[in-house]
C-alpha cells in the first residue's frame, strides 16, 4: 500500500537535498519516514518503502537504512534498503534489505528478456547448433536442442517452448531480489538479479539473469565482465572472468581470468585461468590451468590437464568440426586433439594427436601417441585408482544447495550405457584379435592403433567389468531380503518393468533409456508437452524410473550374454552366480588396490627426503606428506568394500543353501 507524500515530508526531503521531477509521482509506504533519505534526485514514477531499520552490509556489519547520493528513476524500492552513491538506478524493482553502494549505473533500457532466449553457438563455432538459453535450462533440454538437429520438428517445437517461456520474462522493469548486495560495480544494464545475490566490484554486466536464491546465492566478484548471460543459483564468478554469450549452470565456479564465449558450463563445473570457445560443457567439466583452450567440444565429468588444447581448424568450409569427449574422460598436460574426434567414456588422452579418431566403442582407454601414431590401450583406465576415486568424489562435490536441481545427473560409474559400451568394446577387440595376424604389431580401428598383444587381455578386463555389473544386480536384490523358496526368489528377481536390451544414452550427464527419451520427444513433437517445465518434469520422471529400467536391462543382458534366465533359475545356478560375483568383484577391487599401491612405491617417493641421510628419514618425509598405504582413507575404504563383498557373499549363500532342493 502506497500513499502520496505529505507537504511536510516533501519539505523535509528538500531540506535533505532531494529533488523530484514531480513530487506527485513519488509514492511512499503508509509508515514512510523521510529520515535517512538525502541528496536523491527522483524522476518518473517512484514507490518508496519504509526506511527505518538496519541493513546488513556484510557479515556482522549493519548500517541504518539509507538512500543517499542517488539518481532514481521509475523504481519501486522495498523496505530498509541501503542505497548510497548510485549514479543511475533506472527502471528497477528492489526487494527489501537491498544494498547498492558505489555503483555507476543499474539500468533497464527498453524491453529486455534479461539474457533469456539469447542464442549461443555451442559445439560448432560456425553455428548450426544455436542454443537459446534461459533461466530454467537443464543440461538435458540443452542436449536435445544442440544434439538432435536431425529432428527438425523437435527443434522447431522446442524453440517454440523456449520462446513461450522467454516471453514471460520480457519486461521494461528489472528486479533486484531481497537482501542482494551490489557494491563498487561500474555498470549493470538489463540484468535481473535474484535474492541474496552478491555483486562486488564487477566491471560490466549486460543483458543477463543472475538467478540467485536464498538457499543458493550467486556471487559475482571483482572485475567480472559478462554480456548476454545466464548465471544460475549457487554459482560464483570472480577474478576478472570474462563471459560473452555464456550460460552458467548451478553450483559452478569461474574465476582467475577465465574467459568464455558461446559456452555452457552446467552444474558443478569449474573453470579457471583458461579459455572456452563454443564449448558445450555438461556437469562437472573442470579446467583449472593456464594455456588450456577448450574449443568446439562437448564434455561432461571432464578434467582438463594444463595446456590441454583442441583445434577445429582443419576445415575448408568454415569451422564445422566438433569434438565429443564422453563422460569421465581426462586430457593430460599439453595434450592436443585435432577435431573431429570422439573420445570414449572414462578415457585418458595424452600427447599431441595429429589425426582424427573415434574411440566411442572402447571406453576406459589410454590414448597416447607413439611414433606419430595415436595408440589406444583399451580398458587400462578401468582399474585405476583415479577412476575409482573420481566416481566417488563427484556426488560429494555437488554444490547445488537449492531445492530445485535442474541438471539431472547419473553419478554411478557403471550403468547400462557404459556397460553396453564395454560389451561393444569386448566384441570389437575379439573381432580385431581374430583378424589381426601375429606378424602385425598393431590393429587399426577408426584412427587409432591398438597393440595386438592387448586385444585379448583388454577383452578379459572388459568382460570382468560386465560380469561384475550384471551379477551385482542380482546380488543387490538378494542380499537384504528374506525368502524361503525358489519361487519367492524368482518373484523377487522379476523386473517390475518390461525392458529388453534397449539402447541407453548419455544426455549430458543423465543416463537414460533411448526409448523413454524418444517417447518424450514424441510428446514434444505432438505438442502434448506445452511448457519447458512440463518437459523438465518429463526428464525427472524418466530419471526416477531409471533404476528399475536399469535392472530390467541387466536381466535382459544376463539372458542374452550368459543365458541366465531369472524366471527359470535354479538354486545351484544362483549359488554359482553369487560365488562368481564374489570372486570377480574382489578381483576387480584388488586390481584397483594394486594401482593405488603405486602411489606409495619407490617411484612416487622421488623428491621426498631430499636432505635425508638415510632411507628412514626419506620414508619419514614421504609419509609425513602422503601418509602410508595402510592409513590412506581411500585404501581403507576399498578394503572395507572387499570385506563387505565377503560378508554379503556369506549372508546370501547361507540363505540360498537353506532353500529346499
Amino acid at each position: 500500500m502506497y500513499r502520496q507524500l505529505s507537504q511536510a515530508e516533501i519539505e523535509i526531503l528538500k531540506q535533505q537535498g532531494c529533488v523530484a521531477e514531480n513530487w506527485e509521482n513519488v509514492e511512499v509506504s503508509i509508515s514512510f519516514s523521510a529520515e535517512g533519505i538525502s541528496n536523491v534526485r527522483f524522476a518518473g514514477n517512484i514507490k518508496l518503502g519504509t526506511q527505518r531499520g538496519k541493513v546488513q552490509i556484510d557479515e556482522g556489519i549493519l548500517k541504518p537504512a539509507t538512500i543517499r547520493n542517488c539518481f532514481i528513476e521509475n523504481c519501486t524500492i522495498g523496505e530498509n534498503v541501503f542505497l548510497s552513491n548510485v549514479g543511475s538506478l533506472i527502471n528497477y524493482k528492489l526487494g527489501n534489505q537491498v544494498v547498492i553502494e558505489n555503483v555507476g549505473s543499474v539500468v533497464v533500457s527498453g524491453k529486455s528478456a534479461f539474457g533469456n532466449g539469447h542464442e549461443i553457438e555451442v559445439l560448432n563455432e560456425g553455428g548450426g547448433r544455436e542454443l537459446p538459453v534461459f533461466d530454467k535450462l537443464s543440461a538435458q533440454i540443452a542436449y536435445l536442442l544442440v544434439i538432435y538437429r536431425h529432428n527438425s520438428t523437435l527443434i522447431e517445437k522446442l524453440k517454440k517452448l523456449v520462446s513461450k517461456y522467454v516471453e514471460t520474462k520480457r519486461s521494461i522493469v528489472g528486479e533486484i531480489g531481497e537482501n542482494s548486495i551490489i557494491q563498487h560495480t561500474k555498470s549493470i544494464k538489463n540484468v535481473k538479479i535474484g535474492p541474496f545475490a552478491k555483486i562486488i566490484g564487477a566491471s560490466k554486466l549486460v543483458e543477463g539473469t543472475i538467478d540467485s536464491k536464498q538457499e543458493a546465492p550467486v556471487y559475482i566478484g571483482e572485475e567480472v565482465v559478462a554480456e548476454d548471460f545466464i548465471v544460475l543459483s549457487g554459482s560464483k564468478i570472480d577474478g576478472s572472468a570474462i563471459l560473452t554469450s555464456t550460460f552458467v549452470g548451478q553450483g559452478v565456479k569461474i574465476g582467475r581470468q577465465f574467459s568464455a564465449e558461446n559456452t555452457t558450463l552446467f552444474a558443478n563445473s569449474e573453470a579457471f585461468h583458461g579459455e572456452a570457445c563454443s564449448v558445450f560443457a555438461g556437469p562437472y567439466t573442470v579446467t583449472h590451468h593456464k594455456s588450456t583452450l577448450l574449443i568446439a567440444g562437448m564434455f561432461s565429468f571432464y578434467n582438463a590437464g594444463s595446456g590441454s588444447n583442441q583445434s577445429n581448424h582443419m576445415y575448408k568450409l568454415g569451422p564445422i568440426h566438433q569434438g565429443i569427449v564422453e563422460r569421465g574422460s581426462k586430457t593430460g598436460s599439453l595434450s592436443y586433439m585435432l577435431w573431429p574426434c570422439r573420445v570414449g567414456a572414462f578415457s585418458v588422452v595424452m600427447n599431441k594427436h595429429a589425426g582424427n579418431f573415434d574411440t566411442t566403442e572402447l571406453p576406459f582407454s589410454y590414448i597416447s601417441v607413439s611414433d606419430g601414431k595415436s595408440v589406444l590401450t583399451p580398458a587400462m583406465n578401468l582399474f585405476t585408482v583415479g577412476t575409482a576415486r573420481d566416481s566417488k568424489k563427484w556426488p560429494t562435490r555437488d554444490r547445488r544447495t537449492g531445492s530445485e536441481k535442474l541438471d539431472l545427473i547419473s553419478f554411478e560409474l557403471f550403468n547400462p550405457y557404459i556397460i553396453q559400451k564395454i560389451i561393444d568394446g569386448s566384441e570389437l577387440l575379439n573381432k580385431l584379435h581374430e583378424t589381426t595376424p601375429k606378424s602385425k604389431e598393431f590393429a587399426k580401428h577408426k584412427g587409432v592403433h591398438i597393440n595386438r598383444l592387448m586385444l585379448r587381455t583388454s577383452k578379459r578386463y572388459y568382460d570382468l567389468a560386465v560380469n561384475v555389473f550384471l551379477t551385482n544386480q542380482l546380488v543387490e536384490r538378494l542380499k537384504d531380503k528374506s525368502y524361503s523358496s525358489l519361487h519367492e526368489i524368482i518373484k523377487l528377481l522379476k523386473p517390475a518393468v518390461e525392458s529388453g536390451c534397449e539402447k541407453w544414452i548419455d544426455l549430458l550427464g543423465m543416463i537414460a533409456e533411448k526409448k523413454a527419451i524418444n517417447n518424450l520427444i514424441e510428446l514434444v513433437c505432438n505438442e502434448e508437452i506445452k511448457t519447458v517445465e512440463n518437459l523438465q518434469n518429463g526428464f525427472v520422471k524418466i530419471q526416477k524410473e531409471s533404476a528399475e529400467r536399469s535392472y530390467a536391462w541387466s536381466i535382459a543382458k544376463l539372458k542374452a550374454l550368459q543365458n541366465i534366465d531369472v524366471s527359470q533359475i535354479s538354486k545351484q545356478e544362483l549359488i554359482t552366480i553369487v560365488s562368481d560375483w564374489k570372486t570377480n568383484s574382489i578381483k576387480f577391487k584388488n586390481m584397483i588396490l594394486k594401482d593405488a599401491e603405486k602411489e606409495f612405491d619407490q617411484l612416487s617417493r622421488i623428491g621426498f627426503g631430499i636432505d635425508g641421510d638415510d632411507d628412514t628419514e626419506n620414508t619419514a618425509d614421504f609419509e609425513a606428506i602422503r601418509g602410508t598405504y595402510t592409513n590412506n582413507s581411500f585404501i581403507i575404504g576399498l578394503k572395507n568394500e572387499i570385506a563387505e563383498i565377503d560378508s554379503t557373499y556369506t549372508t546370501v549363500i547361507k540363505k540360498l543353501e537353506k532353500l529346499p532342493e
Binding site: 590401450t377 587400462m380 597393440n451 598383444l453 586390481m591 603405486k598
Partner: protein, 79 residues
C-alpha cells in the same frame, strides 16, 4: 619345459616389448626400476607372456610379479 628355457623365453619377450638388448636383462632385474617399464608396458608384458606361453594368467596376481626371476617362478606355475 625347464626353468632355464622359461627364463630365456621370458627375457626374449621382455627385450621385444621393452625394446632392450637381451644382454641388458639380468635374472634379478626389476621390470620397473631396472628395465624402465611403465604401467602400460607392464600390461603389455603380461599379454606378451600369455601369448608366448599360451597361458591365461590371473592378472591381479601377475601384477605383483616384479622381477625376471619372479616371472619365471610365476609363469612356471601355469605350465
Amino acid at each position: 619345459m625347464n626353468q632355464e628355457e622359461v627364463k630365456h623365453r621370458i627375457k626374449k619377450v621382455v627385450a621385444s616389448v621393452l625394446k632392450l638388448d637381451m644382454s641388458e636383462i639380468t635374472d634379478n632385474a626389476n621390470f620397473i626400476f631396472d628395465l624402465g617399464a611403465d604401467s602400460m608396458q607392464s600390461m603389455l608384458l603380461i599379454a606378451a607372456f600369455e601369448e608366448e606361453f599360451e597361458i591365461e594368467m590371473d592378472v591381479d596376481k601377475a601384477q605383483e610379479v616384479q622381477t625376471i626371476s619372479g616371472a619365471v617362478e610365476f609363469i612356471s606355475s601355469y605350465l
